[in-house]
């Protein structure tokens, strides 16, 4: 059943991604002020959405792991943090590519850039804890705690960095109430792209999650076999 599910998910993610690519490169009109570079926006925003959704999932998985103590939540958190880091990196790269022609610089300490970068550093630390340390129940607990602490920090980071400085265009909601996307086709393209990335996210998550589940099962089996052998030897 699992195999069929991620077969279907993978296929729909692929289809949606192809449609989104067609829309981004061919269908959607070019933005008047920024020109062709603006098209990266249709990938940049979905990447950010996937990254934030993953980091949110890490915190939720952490809470449930500490609460219930079942391995399944730890596996979910681990899978989510890896995907989150991947897409957070993509957000930073696509943002940089866009910023060079538009702002005239690859990087600037604007509030959203800084926030995203700080998130990247935080979850990078989390991922390093998981990769350097052994894969034990203790590390799972530590990771859950750090996942929760990092999520708690996010609102404080956002507020402080926004107060610090900002020049990032507020595309989706501006204070004037407009959203900056004049042509309705732009909105449609963004929505399709968001859907495509969400499917991709679900597919990747399921894939990595099932792999981690299998690893857990394998470890349990290996332990059981070793135990059985030991008992047989003793008897």
């Amino acid at each position: 059943m699992n195999r069929r599910l991620y077969g279907a998910l993978g296929l729909s993610a692929l289809t949606a991604m192809l449609v989104a690519l067609y829309m981004v490169f061919v269908w959607v009109p070019t933005e008047a002020d920024q020109g062709i570079v603006q098209r990266i926006f249709y990938f940049h925003v979905p990447c950010a959405w996937v990254a934030f959704a993953s980091f949110g999932l890490v915190a939720i998985a952490g809470i449930f792991y500490l609460w219930m103590g079942t391995q399944i939540w730890d596996d979910l958190g681990y899978a989510a943090v890896e995907i989150g880091m991947l897409f957070c990196t993509l957000v930073l790269i696509t943002g940089s590519l866009w910023a060079k022609p538009i702002w005239g610089t690859w990087w600037t300490w604007d509030s959203r850039l800084t926030t995203t970068f700080v998130l990247w550093l935080m979850y990078g630390g989390y991922l390093m804890l998981r990769t350097i340390a052994d894969d034990t129940e203790q590390i799972a607990r530590f990771a859950a705690v750090i996942g929760i602490v990092a999520a708690l920090d996010v609102p404080v980071v956002i507020v402080s960095v926004r107060l610090w400085r900002t020049i990032h265009p507020a595309v989706l909601v501006t204070r004037q109430g407009g959203h900056g996307l004049e042509d309705p086709r732009m909105v449609v393209t963004l929505l399709v792209s968001l859907a495509a990335f969400t499917l991709l996210f679900a597919w990747l998550l399921l894939l990595r999650f099932s792999e981690l589940r299998m690893r857990t099962r394998l470890a349990t089996l290996a332990r059981d076999i070793a135990l059985a052998r030991f008992r047989a030897g003793a008897a």
Binding site: M122, L129, V145, V159
Partner: protein, 223 residues
């Protein structure tokens, strides 16, 4: 409350007799300031902004080394296990450890402030109280985070390597706010001018002290 005071008293007595944490913290803060003086070539003759920045760099470095000492010291000789076996709530243990660590950090901050004033030609202005508030809140927030994460790092493999990587990114908002308040204070602005930033520092402290208080039992665990 008795348990809290007992653990705190133990840590303070240990420190007064041996004095390892504070000495190390103060020395490191001092060295960081010296390095910064050379590295920055006394940019624009020091000034409040540079001074405030230098002060907080010193504080963060000292904190990374020293704020974890109170946990590391317990790990050596298996004292942590004895503490966990004693009928004390883990949250109380956290509160005591946090208080001890914040005390050492504030001591280092006082020494670093005096040195920074000398090295960076800063004025002893009327708003020294504002600077004090920023440093105390900063030290408290850092210790809240460091005590929780140190409990992790002393028991994870490669933990001492990971600790700065975990603490510093999470500490960023408090760092920004702390530098802002300090710079305002050193340039003689009243506390009201940096009200929002003090608010962020307070929010950070409340959030992470609460988080540490609730989560500490999960990181010290059942051994």
């Amino acid at each position: 409350m008795n348990a809290f005071l007992a653990i705190l008293r133990k840590d303070l007595i240990l420190e007064l007799r041996g004095g390892r944490s504070t000495t190390a913290l103060v020395s490191l803060a001092l060295l960081v300031l010296v390095v910064l003086t050379f590295a920055l070539e006394r940019t624009a003759g020091g000034g409040p902004a540079t001074g405030a920045g230098a002060l907080w760099i010193a504080l963060v470095f000292a904190g990374m080394l020293g704020a974890t000492r109170v946990m590391v010291a317990e790990q050596e000789n298996g004292c942590l296990r004895a503490l966990l076996l004693s009928p004390v709530d883990r949250a109380i243990l956290y509160a005591a450890k946090l208080t001890a660590s914040a005390t050492f950090m504030i001591a280092a901050a006082v020494a670093a402030t005096i040195m920074a004033m000398l090295f960076f030609n800063l004025e002893f202005s009327d708003s020294l109280a504002t600077l004090g508030i920023a440093l105390i809140l900063g030290a408290l927030g850092f210790s809240a985070l460091a005590t929780l994460l140190a409990a992790i790092s002393i028991r994870a493999r490669g933990g001492e390597l990971l600790l700065p990587l975990l603490i510093v990114p999470i500490f960023v908002p408090a760092l920004i706010a702390g530098v802002k308040v300090s710079a305002a204070a050193l340039s003689g602005a009243p506390l009201a001018a940096a009200r929002e930033w003090v608010g962020i520092l307070v929010a950070f402290d409340v959030l992470f002290i609460a988080a540490g208080y609730l989560l500490f039992e999960h990181v010290v665990g059942e051994e």
